[in-house]
Symmetry: C2
DNA sequence: GTGGCTGCAAATCATTTGCATATAC
DNA sequence: GTATATGCAAATGATTTGCAGCCAC
């Protein structure tokens, strides 16, 4: 049981972060759900197993993981923050129809630059918005059948 | 006096948007302040000339200008929305030190694509974060003098 | 043992909503 | 004249803060 968490214990240890179950659970959740969940989704899902969990702890835990660059937050939705395990450089696509966020592997030489307009760049996020593959297909089917 | 607004009257007319003073004022403000202000800054500034102005109207006006693609909103700050007159494709840089947002003229062939990962792209925003030119200079001076 | 975390309740901040009045066309 | 915009106050929703008790080290 505990061994399932070995991977996440190591990540926290490597960053000298105190090991607590909320932190392990959140890390595990983000590692297993690459759907860019918001705080509410994470909270609701983990609350089932750990009824004493509070939203505050979710906020705090996400914050410390973010400060240690283990995860990142996305502002692409415009309302709530969404979270993502940081693995390799990738960008994001938001479907205006279904609201889902997808990883995009487009790379851009200019987007990896550490200097832009004379400013020192530490982070880059590319946000793409439109209609996702699945919603386009559904729309076509709707037109053909209707 | 009114002639100062001719340019903005035309923009609204061209988009078949009803002409009202809050809309003209907001458009003028954004055209003259390329600082990516938030609602509060716009509201506070215009309230001086038009004390009856309400925040709701600022929100409503920005919304209709955005729907007509005359302006765009940025989520780069992570808390409040910031607004920008839409003139040519450009991206944005947020200084983590002073909080200012700068336009970045970096272009990227891949970022203009209308298809990404099979999804249909309608909008693209590139967000860069780090330390701006001015804050870097200040920091250097501080080190040299201190 | 103790500093750092957790969890609750209350506070805050940006934004939205409902509705009466005013205004553009 | 009528549809639409404005402005106020109240509601909502995400996030933050203050603080008491608990747990990892």
């Amino acid at each position: 049981m505990i061994s399932m968490y070995k991977k996440y214990v190591k990540i926290l240890k490597d960053h000298a972060i105190i090991i607590t179950s909320p932190r392990l659970d959140i890390l595990k959740f983000l590692d297993e759900h690459h759907t860019h969940p918001d705080v509410e989704e994470i909270y609701t899902s983990l609350k089932k197993k750990h009824p004493s969990l509070s939203r505050t702890t979710v906020y705090n835990s996400l914050e410390i993981l973010k400060k240690n660059k283990i995860i990142q937050s996305l502002t692409i939705s415009g309302s709530e923050l969404r979270y993502d395990i940081k693995e390799g450089l990738h960008h994001h696509f938001l479907c205006k129809h279904c609201g889902r966020i997808f990883d995009i592997s487009i790379t851009c030489p200019n987007m990896n630059r550490t200097v832009a307009g004379g400013h020192h760049v530490e982070e880059v996020q590319g946000y793409f918005k439109g209609i996702c593959k699945k919603c386009q297909t559904k729309e076509k089917e709707r037109r053909n059948n209707g």
